[in-house]
């Protein structure tokens, strides 16, 4: 188990290393380039040449990369040129990370809280109206473009009905004390209940939009997995032993059916950031996703590099955690000697 973990961690480092090199080369080859981004299109050739030299852009790309890694290791990822011009990229990341984490956590909670029970019920009543309706709704959940769903939710529940705020993380008028950067948590810690509640209300619509795809996937996997398990021999054994239905359901069906669901939840959590790019843009929610969208629009290379690298790192790390937890839940994987 320990060897397995170490090997997977090494793999993670390699992936992030290769990815940083690729991203670095990729960002340098993007149209416009950092010089245009800093000076604008109308700068004279002379100023451009000077800045190119100053930024070390005349060096071979490999030398530039080594220098970049050296700076990055000391926490210097360069300065933003478009998202929040002048701010260090790392600051932008750290500042926006809690917002996206808050949003993602709520989204995945919504997806789990609805997806698993609904998937379980649908499987138990296979072919019923509830089953068919929820299967169809989960398929529609995948077919609707996330940004359009976000817009619809905003239009109906925020603009027309006025139940929720239309944008942002918190009303400007609220004077909240900042502790951790997680606005809901801050409000609870400082016992500023109105601030916590306001931040929470701001999260709901974007989180629902973001949850649409993970919900669909978690629901379908739960349903399929429960259907698989109830056919297994050990369920029949349990029945013939005379165990009561609730015991069978709890101990045998649910526990075994949850294995693939755990994987799915992990994968979907890692993939949330892609959806966050769209959802945060619609709701003007100041998180990582919005920074990415603005970064692409304004060609903010230092910020893009850091954010994409971090999201890939998080994605890979979550997968690693899922694999490890999988090994903990399922003894068969442990005894196989850890992976491939």
């Amino acid at each position: 188990m320990l060897r397995y973990t170490i090997r997977r961690l090494l793999q993670l480092l390699i992936v992030v290393g290769v990815l940083s090199l690729l991203l670095f080369a990729w960002l340098r080859s993007l149209p416009g380039g950092p010089v245009s981004a800093l000076l604008g299109e109308r700068a004279t050739a002379e100023t451009r040449a000077r800045l190119t030299e100053e930024l070390g852009l005349n060096d071979p790309i490999f030398v530039q990369y080594i220098k970049f890694v050296g700076r990055a290791l000391s926490g210097d990822f360069g300065v933003s040129t478009g998202v929040q011009p002048g701010d260090p990229a790392l600051d932008i990341f750290l500042q926006r990370l809690p917002a996206t984490l808050e949003l993602s956590i709520l989204a995945i909670i919504i997806a789990i809280a609805i997806g698993i029970p609904l998937g379980y019920l649908a499987a138990r009543r296979r072919g019923s109206v509830l089953d068919n309706l929820s299967v169809v709704s989960s398929l529609i959940g995948v077919a609707v473009p996330v940004f359009f769903l976000a817009f619809l939710l905003k239009q109906v529940f925020a603009v027309d009905l006025g139940w929720f705020p239309t944008a942002g993380r918190q009303e400007g008028g609220i004077d909240a004390t900042r502790v951790t950067g997680f606005f809901v948590l801050d409000g609870i810690l400082t016992q500023e209940w109105d601030a916590a509640w306001d931040a929470f209300v701001h999260l709901i619509l974007p989180a629902v939009a973001l949850a649409s795809i993970p919900f669909s996937v978690v629901f379908r996997i739960t349903r399929a997995s429960v259907l698989d398990v109830v056919d297994e021999d050990y369920i029949r054994t349990a029945e013939s032993k005379g165990l009561t239905t609730p015991v069978i359901r709890r101990r045998h069906v649910l526990r075994n059916a949850m294995l693939p669901v755990v994987t799915t939840i992990g994968l979907q959590t890692g993939a949330l950031l892609a959806g966050a790019v769209l959802t945060e843009t619609v709701f003007a929610f100041p998180g990582i996703g919005q920074a990415l969208a603005i970064g692409f629009e304004r060609r903010d290379y230092p910020v893009l590099l850091l954010l994409i690298l971090c999201s890939a790192g998080v994605f890979v790390l979550i997968n690693l955690l899922v694999d490890l937890s999988y090994a903990l839940i399922d003894p068969r994987i442990r005894t196989r000697g850890g992976g491939h």
């Binding site: 077919a143 940004f147 992990g266 949330l272 999201s311 890939a312």
Partner: protein
């Protein structure tokens, strides 16, 4: 990484198992599908969509690029042509007939879906076949590259590739959404090949002295097609949706003379507060078509799954 990849591998393995059972899988699957209302419904949508794309030049009342209602566009007052006699859906931001644009838009949308899937499949085919058929260090190198690609969430990768082009056009959009699918197809095909390597039909072919290339292309590849077809129908839907997202983020095709639903939807988001109906029509079309492909793909998957056949 490996959990996601394991899932793809398991799917591939499963298909390989199915086929080695000996009975004609395709025939059995078709018998089941013919009676499956979900499949028939999805297939009906897909057939209608393809028919619309083919027939739209004759169905569309006007030229989708002509600003025939341009005189009714008043920019200062943010006014666009309302539905009227001869133009049941009204006009778009610059006065082109919306109905014609929706009808003709099916062509480009179909092209985005089909081309993206084909490119993704071809790329995956090359990589997956190389890795699965040759094994050894080729396999290791290819699969590590695939893993790196899979380590960026799909849409984010598409957006990153889309941003590579200074002058985006329809093809760069297609390429961006297609690249995301390459590693998935590659995994799928490789897994399927590996699973077959020691199966009886491959051993038999080898014992008969069939050359490696013939084994790969005539025996292993055709037997891997089941999950690939399932994946393709799902990818078609995803590509159309991703193309819309790219357009929404400003990385779509800026040339809007030839309409495409995703680009129309992305473009309409800019004026969505004043003219939401410009977004509703293309969105409805995309949702229905994506649903059609998804229903078809999911029921195909179920039909090909040996477990559900008991």
């Amino acid at each position: 990484m490996s959990t996601r990849t394991d899932k793809i591998d398991a799917l591939a393995e499963q298909a390989a198992r199915t086929d080695s059972a000996g009975v004609s899988v395709a025939a059995a699957a078709w018998r089941r599908l013919r009676r499956n209302p979900v499949f028939l419904f999805g297939a009906a949508i897909v057939v209608a969509f393809v028919a619309l794309a083919l027939l739209s030049p004759w169905l569309a009342p006007y030229d989708p690029g002509e600003r025939m209602l341009g005189d009714q566009v008043i920019r200062a007052r943010d006014q666009i042509p309302p539905p009227q006699e001869g133009h049941p859906l009204g006009g778009d931001q610059v006065g082109r007939d919306l109905l014609s644009r929706i009808l003709i838009g099916s062509q480009q949308t179909l092209m985005v879906g089909v081309l993206a899937t084909l490119i993704g499949f071809t790329g995956g085919l090359v990589l997956g076949t190389l890795a699965g058929a040759l094994g050894g260090w080729v396999d290791t190198v290819v699969m590590r590259a695939v893993d790196v690609m899979l380590s960026i969430p799909g849409l984010l990768l598409a957006v990153s590739i889309g941003a590579l082009f200074s002058q985006p056009n329809q093809f760069t959009v297609i390429l961006a959404v297609a690249m995301v699918q390459v590693p998935i197809f590659a995994r799928l095909l490789r897994g399927s090949m590996l699973a077959q390597r020691h199966s009886d039909h491959v051993l038999a072919a080898r014992a008969l002295g069939v050359r490696q290339r013939a084994i790969v292309f005539r025996h292993m590849l055709p037997n891997s097609l089941g999950p690939v077809i399932v994946q393709s129908t799902l990818v078609l839907a995803i590509s159309i949706i991703d193309a819309a997202a790219l357009s929404f983020l400003g990385l779509g095709n800026p040339d809007d003379r030839i309409p495409e639903w995703g680009a129309m939807l992305g473009e309409a988001q800019k004026a969505i507060d004043s003219h939401p109906h410009l977004a509703y029509w293309p969105a409805a079309c995309i949702i229905v078509v994506a649903l059609g492909f998804t229903l078809m793909g999911e029921s195909l998957r179920e039909a090909l799954d040996p477990k559900s056949r008991r």
